[in-house]
C-alpha cells in the first residue's frame, strides 16, 4: 500500500535521483581519487566537503521545499488536511522520503572525506567533523521545512488559498541556519587549530563541540516545532506544554554560559560587569518574543478567542489558546524574577533588565492593539507593520534623535540607550499608555460585535 513515506519516494523519482545524487558524487570523487595519484588526499578531501554542501544542503533544501509545494501544485493539500494522518508521520515521511538520495550522495562524500583526513587527524576529530556536517545538513532541511510550514500557516489563517510561496527565501533561511556550524568546519583545515571555546556550567568546551551540541539542540526543537506546526495545519488540538518545556530547556542551556567565544565578545561589551546567564536569557527570550510578534498569526479572532478562554475555561484551555509571545513574556518575567532573587546582580544590570521587560511588555501590547486596529478587513496582522514599528522604535528613532542632538530623548525610548530612573519612569509611562490603547481597541471590538448582533 502507499503510505506517505512511500508516496514521497515515488514522487521523488528515486531511480533518477540515485543517478544524480549518488552517481554523480561517486563519479566526481573517483576522478579526484585518480588526480590524487590513486589515493584519498588533499584534493579529494576538499572536493568531498564541497560536494556534501552542494548535494545535501543546497539540493536537499530544494527537495525539502518541494515536498510541500508539490501538494499545492497538485491540489492535494486540502485532501491531506482532511485525512487521518498524524502530524509526526507526515513530517518524517516528507523530510526523509524526498531527501533519501541526497543523503546517499552525502554519505559517499563523507566517506571519501574520512579516508582523506585519516592520515592527518585523530578519529575523534574526524568523528566531530563528520557529525558536524551531518548536523549542518539536517538543520538546513528541518529549518527549511519549518519555515515553509510557518508560511503556509499564516496564509491559511487568512483563509486564502495558498498561492506561490517564496521557495528561494525559505531555502536561504534554511541554509543560513547551518552557517554557524559550517563556518567552524571551514575556518581551518583541522579542528586542532581552533583555540576558541566557552565555559559552560564550569566546563571548558571547544567551540566546534559547543556549536555541534547547540545545533543538535536546535534540530531537536525544530523537528518538534515542525510536528507541532503540522498539527495546527491539520487542525489537531495544540499540545500546550511543548512551548513552556522549550523555554525552560532554552533557559537552562543559555544560563550555563559563563563566558562567550572570542568571536562574540561584542555581545559581552553590552553588559557592564560582563555577561551572565541572566543577561543571555533576557537577550534570548527577547529575541524569541520579537520573532513571534513578527510571524505568529494574530488578529481579532485570536484575541477574541483568548479573552473568551481567559474568562471561562480551565488552565489547560487557556494555555492551549495563549499566543506564544505571551507565554514567552510570562516565562521571561518568571525566570528573571528568580534570577534576581538568587544571583544578586548589580544595580545597573537590574535597571537594564527591568527596562528591557517594560519595553518588551510595551511592544507586545502595542502589537496586540495594532492587530485589532488595523485588521478591519484581514484576519491576521501582517508582519510588515510590526517589523517597521520595531525598526522605528529601536533603530530609526534613537538614531534620528541622536543625529539631531536629542540623545537624551533617545534614552527615554530605548532600553539599549537608557539606564536610569528617568528611563524607568518613561518606560512605565509608555507601558500604561499602550495598555490603555490596547484595551480601548478591545472595547471597540466588543462594541462593534454587539451592535452588529443587534443589527441582525
Amino acid at each position: 500500500m502507499i503510505n506517505e513515506f512511500r508516496k514521497n519516494l515515488l514522487l521523488g523519482n528515486v531511480r533518477k535521483n540515485l543517478i544524480i545524487d549518488g552517481g554523480c558524487v561517486l563519479g566526481l570523487l573517483t576522478v579526484c581519487f585518480a588526480i590524487d595519484d590513486l589515493s584519498f588526499s588533499f584534493f579529494t578531501e576538499r572536493v568531498a566537503k564541497i560536494l556534501f554542501v552542494l548535494v545535501v544542503l543546497f539540493r536537499g533544501a530544494r527537495l525539502v521545499s518541494d515536498t510541500l509545494t508539490d501538494e499545492f501544485q497538485n491540489n492535494m493539500w486540502d485532501f491531506i488536511r482532511l485525512s487521518r494522518q498524524s502530524a509526526f508521520s507526515l513530517v518524517w515521511s516528507k523530510l526523509l522520503g524526498r531527501t533519501i538520495t541526497v543523503w546517499l550522495g552525502g554519505s559517499i562524500a563523507l566517506t571519501a572525506y574520512a579516508f582523506a583526513e585519516a592520515k592527518w587527524l585523530d578519529p575523534w576529530t574526524i568523528a566531530i567533523v563528520i557529525t558536524s556536517f551531518i548536523a549542518a545538513g539536517v538543520i538546513t532541511h528541518v529549518v527549511t521545512f519549518l519555515v515553509q510550514l510557518l508560511a503556509i500557516y499564516r496564509q491559511q489563517s487568512e483563509g486564502y488559498d495558498i498561492g506561490k510561496m517564496n521557495r528561494l527565501g525559505v531555502q536561504i533561511i534554511g541554509l543560513l541556519a547551518a552557517l554557524p556550524i559550517l563556518s567552524t568546519i571551514y575556518e581551518s583545515n583541522s579542528l586542532g587549530t581552533i583555540l576558541d571555546g566557552v565555559i559552560w556550567y564550569g566546563w571548558y568546551i571547544d567551540l566546534p563541540l559547543v556549536l555541534l551540541c547547540l545545533t543538535v539542540f536546535a534540530i531537536t526543537w525544530a523537528l518538534i516545532a515542525s510536528a507541532m506546526m503540522m498539527r495546527r495545519l491539520l487542525a489537531y488540538v495544540p499540545v500546550f506544554w511543548v512551548w513552556p518545556v522549550f523555554l525552560i530547556s532554552f533557559a537552562l542551556v543559555i544560563n550555563g554560559f559563563e563566558t562567550l567565544p572570542y568571536s562574540l565578545y561584542y555581545i559581552g561589551t553590552l553588559f557592564s560587569g560582563g555577561v551572565s546567564g541572566i543577561h543571555l536569557i533576557t537577550l534570548g527570550f527577547a529575541a524569541i518574543i520579537y520573532v513571534l510578534l513578527c510571524f505568529e498569526p494574530l488578529g481579532p479572532n485570536h484575541i477574541q478567542a483568548l479573552i473568551k478562554q481567559l474568562s471561562s475555561r480551565t488552565a489547560i484551555d487557556i494555555l492551549q489558546h495563549l499566543p506564544r509571545s505571551i507565554i514567552t513574556l510570562v516565562g521571561m518575567v518568571a525566570v528573571i524574577a528568580v534570577s534576581l532573587i538568587f544571583t544578586h546582580p548589580t544595580q545597573d544590570a537590574s535597571v537594564k533588565i527591568t527596562l528591557a521587560l517594560l519595553y518588551i511588555g510595551r511592544d507586545v501590547l502595542l502589537v496586540y492593539g495594532l492587530a485589532l486596529r488595523l485588521c478591519r478587513h484581514r484576519k491576521t496582522l501582517a508582519s510588515t507593520p510590526i517589523i517597521i514599528t520595531i525598526l522605528l522604535l529601536y533603530f530609526a528613532l534613537p538614531f534620528g534623535l541622536d543625529q539631531i542632538g536629542l540623545n537624551f530623548i533617545a534614552t527615554l525610548t530605548s532600553p539599549i540607550v537608557g539606564n536610569d530612573w528617568m528611563a524607568l519612569l518613561s518606560a512605565i509611562g509608555q507601558l500604561v499608555m499602550v495598555t490603555v490603547f490596547a484595551f480601548r481597541q478591545i472595547t471597540i471590538m466588543r462594541d462593534s460585535k454587539v451592535s452588529h448582533a443587534q443589527g441582525q
Binding site: M1, I2, N3, E4, K7, L10, L11, N13, N74, N75, M76, D78, F79, I80, R81, L82, S83, R84, Q85, Q156, S157, G159, Y160, L234, A235, Y236, V237, N301, A305, H377, R378, K379, Q456
Partner: protein
Amino acid sequence: MNTLLSINGLSFSYGRKTALNGISLDLKEGGVTALIGQNGAGKTTLMRAITGLLPITENVVTVDGIDVASNPRKVHQMVGFLPDMLGFYPSLTVQDNLAYAAQINGLTDEEARQAVENTLLRLDLTSKKSDPAGSLSRGWRQRISIAQAIVHSPRFLALDEPATGLDPDARLSLSKLFLELNQAGMTLLVSSHILAELEDYCNHIIMLEDGELVGQRDIKNFLAYRKSDVKDLRIELADDRTSIERALLILSQDTQCNDIFHRDRIITLRFHGTDADQHILLKNLFAADVHVLSAGEDHNGQRETLRDAYHRMNNKTPPR
C-alpha cells in the same frame, strides 16, 4: 431523518469581499442536496467552511452535533470533499493514487485493497488503473478525483462541480453513482451548474446568491407543475419550406418563446405567456403568411425543469 449538518449565521469574508453573509440552514441525514448559484455566489466557500477547511468562528457549523471550528479533526473523519480544482499526483498510477487516498483515510491494508478495487469498478477506472494519472484526459482525471473522495466511504460527502469535464455518458453514470451512494447511507451535498442532471438525483435544493441564502426547499416543491403562464405549444405547419423558415424566425424573435424544437413540419416550444399572448403570436404568424395547420398545447412534457425554476427564481428569462 436526523439533522446531520446545521449552520447558524455563517459569515465569511476574504479581505474586504464578503463571500458568505449570515447563512443558516439544516441538512437532514440521508439526503442528496443540490447547491446552486451563479459564479461567485459562495458555493465553494460554503463547502470549505462545512468541511473545516476555513477558519470560521465557533458554534456556527456543526456536523452531527460536532462543532466544526472547535473539533475539526472529528468532523474530518466523517466527511469527504471533492474540490473544484482536480487533485491527484500525476506521476503516480490511478491505482496508486487511490491506494494512497485509502491509506491516509485510515483504512487497513486489506480494507484499502478492497475499497480501491470497488471504487475502480464504480468509476469505470479499472482499464486505466496502471496508467499514470497525469497521462489521462480531463474526464478521466475528474473520475480519479471523485474516486479519491469516495474510496473511504465517508458519511457526508461534499462535491464541488463533480460533473465538470465529463461527457454525457459519464455524467449519467455519475448520477447513478450518487443515487447508489445515497442508498448506501451517504449524505451528499453537490454543487453544479448542470442543473438538468441535479434533478435526477437530488431531493433537496439550496440556492445561494451573492453570499446569501435565497432559497431552500424540497425539490418537489421547487418545481412548478403546469404554471398558468407557462405552457408547451405544438404548431403544425404546411409542408412548405418558406413557411417553416418564416415561422422559426418569428418564434425565435419572440421573447416569450423558448426551447424551440423543430422536426419536419412540427414545431414545439415553451411559451411564457397568457392565452391572449398566444393569440397574438398566432396572428403574427398568419400575418407573415405562415401556413399554420394547427396550434395548441402540447400535452407531453408538462413539468417545469430545474433549469427553468432556477432562472424563474432569478427573475431571468431562460436562455434559448
